[in-house]
Amino acid sequence: MKPPRFQYCAPRLIDEALYLLDTYAGDIKVLAGGQSFVPLLNMRLAGPAYLVDINHISELHYLETEDGYMSIGALARQRQVERSILVQEQHPLLVKTIEHIGHMQIRNRGTVVGSIAHADPAAELPALLTCLDGEVLAQSIRGERVIKAQEFFTGYLSTTLEPNEMLVEARFPWVSEQAGWSFMEFARRSGDYALVGAAAVLTPAPDDTCASASIAYLGVAGAPARGHAVEAILTGSAMDEQTIEMAAEAARDVVSDDMSDVHASVEYRRTLAAELTRRVLRSAWGRRVRQVTQNGEV
């Protein structure tokens, strides 16, 4: 349970880190919060020859509100985002999601961007980014590119990030004031990786039907998954129990056939996906702000 030998470097500038990533691409890993990566080293599931510690790159330590999204730099700790009054007021869904990650001791060190780069299919933030159609910013010495969440997560711990690139920022789109939102998950023990979880955002129409729906799941496949069939059922529908029941039934199919392991069978995960769908939909719809119609009726 000790990490293998590696060469270590802790630069102060992004450019230095990008240079090292480019030079040693394929045999080098970025160390940020280390709350998922150090266990992999301790268990010898990872063994890069080089480690570039980005904890001293102060320019990556930021939270900013941008037009359209909340921007989070690669060194912002989960706990810092969770405690931020700005984020609590402007992106409560992000705070609620982060509260489900591990424990306080883990969130003190773990970074938001690191969790996304690690891309564990049972992790909370990749699912939220997928639900919100968020983006990430990747940099290399050759330049930078913006990658949509839908094109970023490719499978178990796998992303489209190139070996010479570093994830420097995550962008969580704002949830409109009218929309209702919810994040829930089921874990056997508090703080464990969840078996299944769901994030939902529902926007009401003037006639109080569901104008648009966005729902994403964790723990249901090799990567976070959007519930497209669920969204199709909800869009344009009255949010009554019948609609919710149809949506819950459709959510069962989001669970991939190979999601059976020592923790839960596929059938159990499907039951969880259906039940969590019912619960997040009721909770999100309850949070919506009803639209006022033209004649003043609510």
């Binding site: 990490p3 802790a10 301790n42 480690l51 424990h103 883990i106 060190r109 703080g191």
Partner: protein, 175 residues
């Protein structure tokens, strides 16, 4: 505290660090792969920080890293360069004094075998710093990052409640 060692702008397997632990400054050369938990225990002899699972689940190795609770098994000693750490050995004022949290755990019998206790004390310290008067729900929630296989947590929760009372009484005396 001094600035971090500039040698680490080059790749290295061994690094000079200067770290303040429980108010005392240590300067030492460490292999970069040395876990902070092992540095505290083996190099500094501070064996009160326990090592249970070594992958961040059990919470036995919890320390305060620049004042915030963190797992010392998920950090490298080299990352503590220039930082301030508090371990269980730094909690009591002197040889015979106990910290109010330790006093409360003794009075309420908040431990049995004691293996998880140092980590729990450090987590509770962080909890009470943020929530001086926590509800039982908050206590249980914050304790979820520390596993105890003996007590069933009942007396630990009682101890945390008493610790909160002792610490706020102490605070009022100061004021």
């Amino acid at each position: 505290m001094r600035e971090r060692n500039d040698d680490v702008s080059q790749f290295t397997e061994e690094c000079e660090i200067a770290v303040t632990v429980n108010g005392r400054r240590y300067e030492q050369s460490v292999p970069v792969r040395l876990l902070l938990s092992d540095f505290l225990r083996h190099d500094l002899g501070l064996t009160g920080t326990h090592v249970g699972c070594e992958h961040g689940v059990c919470g036995c190795c919890t320390i305060l890293f620049n004042g915030e609770a963190a797992r010392s098994c998920l950090m490298f000693a080299v990352q503590a360069d220039g930082m301030a750490i508090t371990t269980i050995e730094g909690m009591a004022g002197g040889q015979s004094d106990l910290h109010p949290i330790q006093q409360a755990f003794m009075e309420k019998h908040g431990l049995q075998c004691g293996f998880c206790t140092p980590g729990i004390i450090m987590s509770v310290h962080a909890l009470l710093h943020e929530h001086p008067d926590p509800s039982e729900e908050e206590i249980r929630h914050e304790l979820s990052g520390n596993l105890c296989r003996c007590t069933g947590y009942q007396n630990i929760v009682e101890a945390v409640k008493l610790a909160a009372e002792l610490m706020s009484a102490q605070q009022m005396e100061v004021e």
